[in-house]
């Protein structure tokens, strides 16, 4: 995919993450330099979680999603959650826990989901970068 176009789409989605939204949700943007969007989630009584989206070829491809501790190390274990979004894995490509949800590159490249194509999602507003983060965040809040 043309990198300039990918960068422009990245910047478009980034522009939607207003200070008002970040404050309301207690999100902290750690990095937002293309192709990486790194956001920390916090909530009372919860261990913070960093979600790092690597958006190479956005949005021809979904972002690769890394789950990280607040200080930047990879999460080694994810807790069982009713949404099923946080999967212990290990993912065959990364060897780590992963986001098992449409909109994550690890989902669409997992042998169990290769028939569920990203093309069926990419035009929907729920699958902008902010939309994908929202879906992960809500699953994280649900525990």
């Amino acid at each position: 995919m043309n990198e300039e176009l990918s960068r422009a789409l990245f910047e478009r989605d980034l522009a939607g993450l207003s200070e008002k939204l970040l404050g309301l949700r207690d999100w902290e943007v750690i990095s937002s330099t293309y192709p990486v969007l790194d956001v920390a989630f916090s909530a009372p009584g919860r261990q913070p979680l960093r979600v790092r989206l690597t958006c190479t070829d956005w949005n021809e491809q979904p972002p690769s999603v890394d789950l990280m501790e607040r200080q930047g190390s990879f999460v080694s274990r994810v807790s069982q959650n009713s949404s099923g979004v946080f999967h212990q894995g290990p993912h065959p490509n990364t060897g780590r826990p992963f986001i098992c949800m449409a909109g994550s590159r690890e989902y669409h490249t997992h042998p169990s989901h290769t028939s569920d194509h990203w093309d069926g999602y990419r035009a929907k507003d729920a699958y902008t970068l902010g939309g994908i983060l929202t879906q992960i965040w809500r699953a994280w809040l649900k525990g």
Partner: protein, 93 residues
């Protein structure tokens, strides 16, 4: 909660926040407390150029509200900031 002196109808101040921006861009819109929440959400969707909102949910102070009901019926008053967006993703099987 504001009281409109002309009509006697109480008002709430509403802001809708999404990952595509906020409506209004700054501050709040004053709307009747007996107006269904969905009216202001529809304004936000139109003005923020959001197209597909099937299944999206509205959250206020951590509580999902009923967008078909009024602010009054949802127990909302004063300044109301609505977090509007998709629900949590579905896990693969």
């Amino acid at each position: 909660m504001a009281l409109n002196e002309t009509s006697g109808e109480r008002k709430v101040e509403v802001a809708i926040v999404t990952t595509s921006g906020s409506w209004p861009a700054t501050g709040f819109n004053e709307v009747p407390e007996r107006q269904p929440v969905k009216h202001e959400i529809e304004q936000a969707v139109r003005n923020l150029h959001i197209v597909n909102t099937a299944g999206w949910i509205a959250i206020v102070n951590g509580r999902q509200i009923n967008v078909e009901a009024t602010y009054l019926e949802n127990g909302l008053s004063g300044q109301v900031t609505i977090d509007y967006g998709p629900p949590h993703g579905g896990g693969g099987r």
